[in-house]
Point group: C2
Chain length 427, copies 2
């Protein structure tokens, strides 16, 4: 007996998914014993070439119908966006139908409400594809590492920005040129703002933090900076200092609580995230027992994302067959949210200073006053002005900020031309 | 109500596991809702300092008692070896108790029989820790990637040999010196034969092949070569040619069937496995949809391995609580086993040849006769003899072997001093 599946969304992911479900039907049945049947596919508009064939009546532009259809036992939501996806997912859960979604925005914003609804209905809400595209990360984090006390999760979770940063680092392209190249090759959308300002990565950071620490931070509480202000000269200096600049999603458990943040930061060239190039994603998971695990793979794209969705569909199908939950429930506690001002990192600063004796002493005094110690200084002269590259030791965000404000008030510092965090374990 | 756990083995992994179960009891309960109770721990001998405290009567040297104890609902086998582990695992399964094991040797040798017994008893047999230590790989491979048609799995799955090879490559140490260093630091056992001859990696290759392709190859069918014959000079030449030598476990699906093999091979320096240093493990998974996924982390050690075991224990506990299987069954089909002679790879050869005109033509003719084409040649002269470094294009094992035999028959070739496979996608 088959398992009836309703799919919302017929775009890149939905299309790839439908093709896989139809083409691999027998392979999946042999491996899992499950007959998966695509019964309804809800799309926004019917008059579009989709690249897949379905029996008459399967494709519909009435998305609510897909959820309501009695033959649909499981809902797969790959349409994206908050609305109407959120209400449709809730309706399916309330109707006792397990839901598989790739919607990071929805999970990050309404996770606890959705998990609660799923629990009350006694069905699963699965979202392996919401973070890391085709990389298995959600289930390993929540299920395989369930007994761990994790300390930090750090990843490159947005392929668009990693493609742009790789181009800027390796070819010296300006941000706008690299963005145009990413758009030309299909790695960036016409409106790239969700990617380049870190909104997409912040949703994923919120999800990673919630699962890693069992305490929901929520997308709104994620500190966020994008890559639009980066100057390729700093990526060049980073390389000379032994670093690579990446847009990082970081989730960390500190004594003050859980913190999640997204910003461009330098990592050492021998850090495993440093070698993740182009549109690939990678996530590192740290804890005292597991030390450091690294998962990497294609972070987006129809086929990889469809893979993750398909794995979840099989789990949900097993659940329907078993008549009981087979995936672990998402249970959350309130672990508190750490103030971003308390988060400690190292910083790289590029200062334009007057080239005269005693300047460095004045600068060092400002850092010292704010309790920030200097790790390295490099000076490059050109005429009356000198460029000073400073890397600090680790200190809280608020102290680092105050030190920079202090520098701006110094007569000898004409400009704090760049300030980029460094994510590195101090040695 | 707690879940009663019986553990077999109180060594490095067992000790770490007992400590984690006792120390993290409340954390696990909060995150999963499960109270895990260590009721019996079976060890070989009672008069040994264990580094953990248990209530009187929990520790026993009667291992059969642990399985038979009615209060033990789940068996955790971390004693290792085929005997008595195999019969104890079977006894537990037959008694309807789910089993968690870290025993790669047992799974590789008796997998299908154990899976069958588990299925008949309606309980799970979980073995996340059998491959890759603390790296989540078994469940992602079998569950998250259940809908994939994978083509190749390739990994560094033995930390001892990777430590030795890293030392040989980076410090130019001879094999025996690097082995002694590994033993001194605790990365290699006093009797290192299972590691250095590839027996350990072959068991893991068999398991990876079985799960990746749903067709059991079995440890005996894994082609195997160890690292004992490697000369550091070839690791040096490899570096000059842009390669790194790693002991690889490879599972591949070809048109002729599934093949699993373990041997030292060169990978390009920019291949993600090339940068895996020391005792770390890493596994790459390839398929048309997922492209290439990479999982890396600590491949051995008590704490990381205990992490993987603990994840499985939680799954088995959920299963006991649910009263039905929550982990997917291992279903195997017979996909056929490919003849190793049909497996195609590139080769690196180091030849000692007479330094006279026409030698290369004779050598090229031998390769051509056997249908092997040459990709690159580098010659280094020293007196009357020259060293020839040849990298071939990809060709079947049997043709490559015949070509080498042909070279040995040439008067101008005094010695085929080294022959190492190259695992690389031809570009």
């Amino acid at each position: 007996m088959g398992i009836g599946i309703g799919i919302l969304g017929g775009g890149t992911v939905g299309g790839a998914l439908v093709r896989r479900l139809v083409d691999n039907r027998d392979v999946i049945a042999a491996k899992t014993g499950l007959q998966l049947e695509v019964l309804r596919v809800g799309v926004r508009t019917l008059d579009k070439e989709r690249g897949f064939d379905l029996l008459p009546g399967v494709l519909t532009d009435n998305v609510a119908d897909v959820v309501a259809d009695d033959s649909v036992e499981m809902l797969v939501e790959v349409m994206g966006g908050m609305d109407p996806a959120g209400d449709l997912v809730l309706a399916a859960l309330r109707a006792g139908k397990p839901v598989v979604t790739a919607n990071k925005e929805l999970i990050a914003a309404r996770g606890p409400e959705l998990f609660q609804t799923a629990e009350e209905a006694g069905v699963s809400l699965l979202f392996e594809a919401a973070v890391g595209g085709g990389i298995p990360i959600i289930r390993p984090l929540w299920e395989t590492l369930a007994g761990e006390t994790l300390t930090k999760v750090m990843g490159i979770v947005n392929g668009t920005t990693n493609f742009i940063l790789t181009a800027m680092s390796e070819s010296g392209m300006a941000y706008k040129v690299a963005l145009a190249e990413a758009q030309r090759l299909g790695y960036a959308e016409t409106d790239p703002s969700s990617d380049v300002t870190g909104v997409d990565a912040a949703a994923k950071a919120a999800i990673l933090a919630g699962l890693a620490f069992g305490s929901w931070v929520g997308a709104d509480a994620v500190y966020r900076e994008g890559i639009t202000g980066l100057d390729p000269v700093d990526l060049q200096f980073a390389a000379e200092l032994g670093y690579v600049v990446k847009l990082l999603a970081v989730a960390e458990r500190t004594e003050e609580g859980v913190n999640a943040r997204v910003y461009p930061a330098m990592v050492l060239t021998h850090h495993p995230l440093a070698s993740v190039r182009g549109a690939r994603n990678a996530i590192s998971i740290e804890g005292p027992a597991v030390q450091r695990l690294l998962f990497s793979g294609p972070g987006a794209g129809g086929e990889p994302t469809a893979s993750a969705v398909l794995g979840d569909i099989i789990t949900a199908a097993r659940e329907l067959r078993a008549g009981t939950l087979v995936a672990p429930r998402i249970r959350l506690a309130d672990g508190g949210v750490a103030d971003f001002g308390d988060v400690s990192t190292m910083w790289y600063l590029r200062l334009m200073v007057v080239d005269q004796p005693g300047v460095l002493a004045q600068i060092a005094a400002v850092f010292g006053h704010h309790g920030v110690s200097i790790r390295s200084v490099r000076q490059e002269c050109s005429g009356d002005e000198a460029t000073l590259l400073i890397v600090t030791h680790s200190a809280p965000e608020r102290a680092q900020q105050a030190a920079r404000d202090g520098l701006r008030g110094l007569g000898v510092v004409s400009n704090v031309a760049a300030a980029i965090r460094v994510e590195s374990t101090e040695s």
